[in-house]
Amino acid sequence: MSTILIAGASRGIGREFVRQFVAAGWTVHATARDGTGAAVLAAEGALPHRLDITDDASIAALAQELAGRPLDAVIANAGISGDLSLPLGAVSGAELARVFDTNLFGVLRLVAALKPNLRAGERKLALAMSSLMSSISSNDWSTQYAYRASKTALNAAWRSLATEWRPEGIACVLLRPGFVKTDMTGHQGMEVADSVAGMRAVVEGLDLSDSGRVIGYDGLDVPW
């Protein structure tokens, strides 16, 4: 039986990943920031953990809880959009730092902290959430400055991670959910169940030859 950790699973896409992996018979570890979220995860059939991805001590505590448990896959799903109402001239260094702290620093440090679990797992999949917003070549309307920059930076970091971990057989892949009805989008876009079903099919088929790719819910690569 396969085991997965989904980080940032209290709502939205992360929570739907929990539902669908539980339904598919996987053992699912999932994280929330507070007790209410953890209770939701337990009710979905997951093994709940607490995690704030911006807090290194919290990441270390999770790694401690999971020590010795092989993980086939980690999905570092936690992400924030930042303040999307800011025009270009109002995006401060502090706003960039806040968005990157979650979307890049936390995601990278979490996956790195769980490397021993991934090495012990069979599938060895280090996954996180990119976006079409990460694609510079697709950007002909600007906006979402801090969010875009954080997801482009995540792509770059994952390309480097893919090279670093390939010798150990760990595939480092980013997923693109599409435009999905969650709190982040004000509940516009496609149904979260459809997006997650698409990404789950992608995850089922992944192997080391996919490492370094950014793959959509539709199976297509996101252009750089």
Binding site: D56, L88, G89, V91, S92, G93, L96, A97, F100, D101, L104, F105, L108, R109, V111, A112, A113, K115, S134, S135, I136, S137, N139, D140, W141, S142, T143, Y145, R148, A149, S150, T152, A153, L154, N155, A156, A157, R159, S160, L161, A162, T163, E164, W165, G212, W224
Partner: protein, 188 residues
């Protein structure tokens, strides 16, 4: 031309400022220091037109493994390589708009582009230069129609003297957002 070079504490920035000065341009140099802020630098530059605003650095951080890279050093790299050029460019929009055929230029590195995968260990540089590329694209989309050309020149090696000497020519000729040190278009 009225040329402002940011980052002349670096050999690259200093050499580029010297190239422009030798060609007879009116050059202002800003050496970046750790306690500087974009707001203070913008205020010190004053409300005068800028024809060419060029961001340089010679930052070459140490390699890290994914397990070893720390949050504080990631934050510092973000501040220097991403937030500084983006924020300062935003603050100097009016001065650029008052310039003659103005160009906003980020001198970056080819190793920050996505097509080459092998960048193992470069966690303190590559993501933040790539993020700056993403933000320069936003600047290009918003400011290009207003006549401010936003360009990135991605060098292979910032210590290559010939490449630095060619930079003013490449900067004038660049007709797409991202070019290499010879002026040839690059993929993101």
């Amino acid at each position: 031309m009225r040329v402002t070079i940011i980052g002349t504490e670096s050999a690259l920035g200093a050499a580029l400022a010297a190239e422009y000065a030798a060609a007879g341009h009116d050059v202002r140099s800003v050496a970046w220091s750790d306690d500087a802020t974009p707001e203070a630098v913008a205020a010190a530059l004053g409300n005068v037109p800028i024809d060419r605003l060029v961001f340089c650095d010679a930052i070459d951080p140490p390699d890290r493994t994914a397990e070893a890279v720390g949050r504080a050093e990631l934050g510092a790299a973000l501040a220097r390589l991403t937030a500084l050029p983006f924020r300062l460019a935003a603050l100097l929009r009016g001065q650029l708009a008052a310039g003659t055929e103005p160009r906003l230029v980020l001198v970056s590195r080819r190793s920050a582009t996505m097509e080459t995968e092998d960048g193992s260990g470069r966690y303190l540089e590559r993501p933040f230069r790539a993020a700056a590329h993403a933000l320069w694209r936003c600047l290009s989309v918003e400011w290009g129609p207003a006549g401010i050309a936003c360009r990135i020149v991605a060098l292979d090696d910032p210590d290559d003297r010939a490449a630095v000497a060619a930079l003013p020519t490449v900067i004038e000729a660049a007709s797409v957002d991202l070019v290499d040190g010879t002026g040839a278009p690059l993929g993101w």
